[in-house]
């Protein structure tokens, strides 16, 4: 069964370029402003969209994404509203893959089968759930795969060769390589180490490997995109959103356009990476 993610990565491979994967938090700073940005991401160059499911206790996230979660929750975000956002996005875009990223508890609380049915119906393509390692695959990963969703796993510098096959076993869509030991938005990854890590993962899988955590600039994104099948940018975009809020936490006039312009710059970095490397 090919999914939107499979098709998207196959197309990019044929074009000889890496995927630009963008992360925003659903409902940040509020539902409508978040939708305006989400809707504009594909035109700004996003090949895959990761949509954060807000959670009160984002243990693997740094200050930027923590703050975005809090803004969204304060504005009334819920898991159900996140799915509404996807559904609305799908009315205008049937091609760009959307991966929900977050923590298990809101899903567990809604009920796994109810959630999977609603996510599939809304047009969600994949899930990244930070606090579900392969040891807990029967919780959500296996039911999600059965429901036709991709389950994207994080691999990290601490995932050694012995463990990697276990991590990759039920992974589909792509592999998300976390380039540093740490939380989102921390230190920038070192390019050489990333290249080696991508090569190591590729020895174990034919899935595309996207790299994230700590990528902030078009230059860094370009560097990662030379060696990986995708570059993920999250905290930098979420910080750009935070920078466009007024004193009441509302998006300033024209703020969404400026955020999307920043996304376009990052996209140019990713999309031009290999052409530049080949020069």
């Amino acid at each position: 069964m090919t999914t939107r993610l499979d098709r998207r990565f196959a197309k990019l491979k044929a074009e000889g370029r890496a995927a630009f994967v963008t992360f925003i938090t659903a409902g940040d700073p509020d539902f409508d402003a978040s939708f305006d940005i989400l809707r504009g991401l594909p035109a700004a160059g996003a090949d895959v969209i990761e949509l954060g499911m807000p959670f009160t206790d984002p243990m693997a996230d740094g200050p930027a994404i923590q703050a975005s979660s809090q803004r969204a929750l304060k504005a009334g975000a819920t898991l159900k509203r996140t799915l509404d956002l996807v559904r609305r996005f799908r009315e205008g875009d049937g091609e760009t893959p959307i991966v929900l990223m977050g923590y298990y508890n809101p899903i567990y609380h809604m009920g796994v089968s109810k959630f999977l049915a609603a996510a599939g119906e809304a047009g969600v393509d994949g899930l990244i759930v930070v606090d579900l390692p392969p040891e807990e695959d029967d919780e959500l990963c296996e039911p999600a795969l059965k429901a036709g969703l991709n389950f994207i796993r994080l691999a990290t510098p601490t995932t050694d060769d012995k463990r990697l096959p276990k991590v990759l076993e039920n992974t589909s869509g792509f592999v998300y390589y976390v380039s540093i030991n740490g939380i989102t938005g921390s230190a920038a990854p070192e390019a050489q180490g990333v290249a080696r890590a991508v090569e190591r993962i590729k020895r174990h899988t034919s899935l595309p490997v996207a790299v994230g955590f700590g990528i902030r600039t078009p230059e860094q994104a370009a560097q990662i995109a030379r060696d990986a099948d995708g570059a993920v940018v999250g905290s930098a975009i979420v910080s750009a959103i935070a920078g466009e809020l007024d004193g009441h936490g509302k998006m300033k006039s024209g703020g969404d356009a400026r955020v999307l312009a920043f996304v376009s710059e990052l996209a140019r970095g990713v999309h031009g990476a290999r052409a530049k490397a080949a020069e």
């Binding site: 959670f55 930070v130 040891e135």
Partner: protein, 406 residues
């Protein structure tokens, strides 16, 4: 071992996945997973090594001052006019609470794993002080994460930690209490996973922590069982202990779980009362969910977002509870009740005046429940209560609650 079935022993958990029935597990980010597995192996090896136990017994005796006394609270017994009340006096331990039992065990493990840096979370500061203490004793740097709100209401303990050489990091995210401190400690751990040992202070977190902390705290119940046998020649009728994460309670309860004639009661923090919504009673007022590495009863809203706990006692102000407690609740072996801030404050004053012991606000919740049941029991019956900590740290906040200016 599913919740609801009757196991042959109540002490056989967790299973190989770290579960007690449906509770427990290893819900952590991949970065931490290899380390969690390494910790499990290291603990299994240590557990089967007599040298590890000998070393721990030596430290417990000469450094922590164990065994702690079992004390017949004669005047409190007379006051209530019912069952005989015994205190297991964990407040007499070095650092003033039961927390040292766990810290001595885990610091030995950290050294065996060649970790060179200790991190910990703390609520009331008791676990932070105990962690800073063992880190000082073994010459390891220690960083303690503490909610900014708690830093404010537990100033004496903050200063103690600093005297012991630890760095105290106030956590301002969320409500600035224990759960936020735990989030921040996890973020530190994931960043410094190679050299850092996370010394979790209660019977919660990913497997193997709940079982490991329970094992280190079980010295409470093992000693108490023997001491009561010597004093009374029999088992108690009822055990009572307070519960935040639930480590002093699990330490007292575990050795008695298969003595099915013993009633076991855990007392959660009822705050302003369960109907007010402002409490920290995860079992009485919460539902199962996944947080901080384990599935357990949590305070959460209709969307699965975690709610802030409230308690007069910073040490109980946590929206979760150890997973083994959740299981013991669901199978009905332990009964979980709650006591309010007000009831705990009354018990604080009563115990101070009648017994000459100023208890910490945490075990005052257990004492508040003793006040409810002791008068209804026969004089030949015995209640054993865990006096988990001393109240020095609380005198300032109690004065404030009572409207006394110091």
């Amino acid at each position: 071992m599913n919740a609801g079935s009757k196991p042959n022993s109540f002490k056989s958990g967790p299973d190989e996945r770290g579960r007690f029935g449906i509770f427990g597990g290893r819900f952590v980010a991949e970065t931490l997973m290899p380390l969690i597995l390494e910790l499990e192996t290291a603990y299994e090896t240590a557990k089967n090594d007599p040298a590890f136990h000998a070393e721990l017994a030596h430290l417990n005796k000469h450094y922590a001052g164990r065994p702690s006394a079992l004390y017949f609270a004669e005047r409190l017994t007379e006051h209530f006019g019912g069952a005989k009340i015994y205190f297991k006096r964990e407040e007499l331990n070095h650092t003033g609470s039961h927390k040292i039992n766990n810290c001595l065990g885990q610091i030995q493990l950290a050294r065996r794993m060649a970790k060179t840096r200790i991190i910990a979370e703390t609520g009331a500061g008791q676990h932070g002080v105990a962690s800073a203490t063992v880190a000082a004793r073994f010459g390891l740097p220690c960083v303690v994460y503490m909610g900014a709100t708690d830093v404010e209401r537990q100033k004496p303990n903050v200063f103690r930690m600093k005297l012991l050489g630890a760095e105290v990091v106030p956590v301002t995210s969320g409500s600035g209490t224990l759960k936020d401190a735990m989030n921040e400690a996890l973020r530190d751990w994931v960043t410094n996973v190679e050299n850092t040992y996370y010394l979790i202070g209660t019977v919660a977190g990913p497997h193997p922590y709940p079982a490991m902390v329970r094992d280190f705290q079980s010295v409470i119940g093992e000693e108490a069982k023997k001491q009561l046998q010597e004093a009374e020649g029999r088992l108690p009728d009822t055990l009572v202990a307070c519960i935040g994460g639930g480590s002093n309670a699990m330490g007292l309860f575990h050795p008695f779980l298969d003595d099915t004639g013993v009633d076991i009661i855990g007392v959660e923090a009822g705050g302003h009362g369960i109907p007010s919504g402002e409490h920290s009673a995860s079992i009485t007022g919460g539902s199962p969910g996944v947080l901080h590495g384990n599935r357990t009863y949590l305070l959460q809203d209709a969307d699965g977002q975690i709610l802030e706990g409230h308690s007069i006692s910073a040490g109980l102000d946590y929206p979760g509870i150890g997973p083994e407690h959740s299981w013991l609740n669901d199978i009905g072996r332990v009964k979980y009740v709650s006591a309010t801030d007000k009831e705990a404050l009354e018990a604080f004053q009563l115990c101070s005046k009648v017994e000459g012991i100023i208890p910490a606000l945490e075990p005052c919740h257990a004492l508040a429940h003793v006040a409810k049941i002791a008068p209804t029991m026969r004089k030949d019956q015995i209640i054993l209560v865990c006096l988990s900590g001393r109240g020095d740290k609380d005198v300032f906040s109690v004065a404030e609650y009572l409207g006394v200016k110091l």
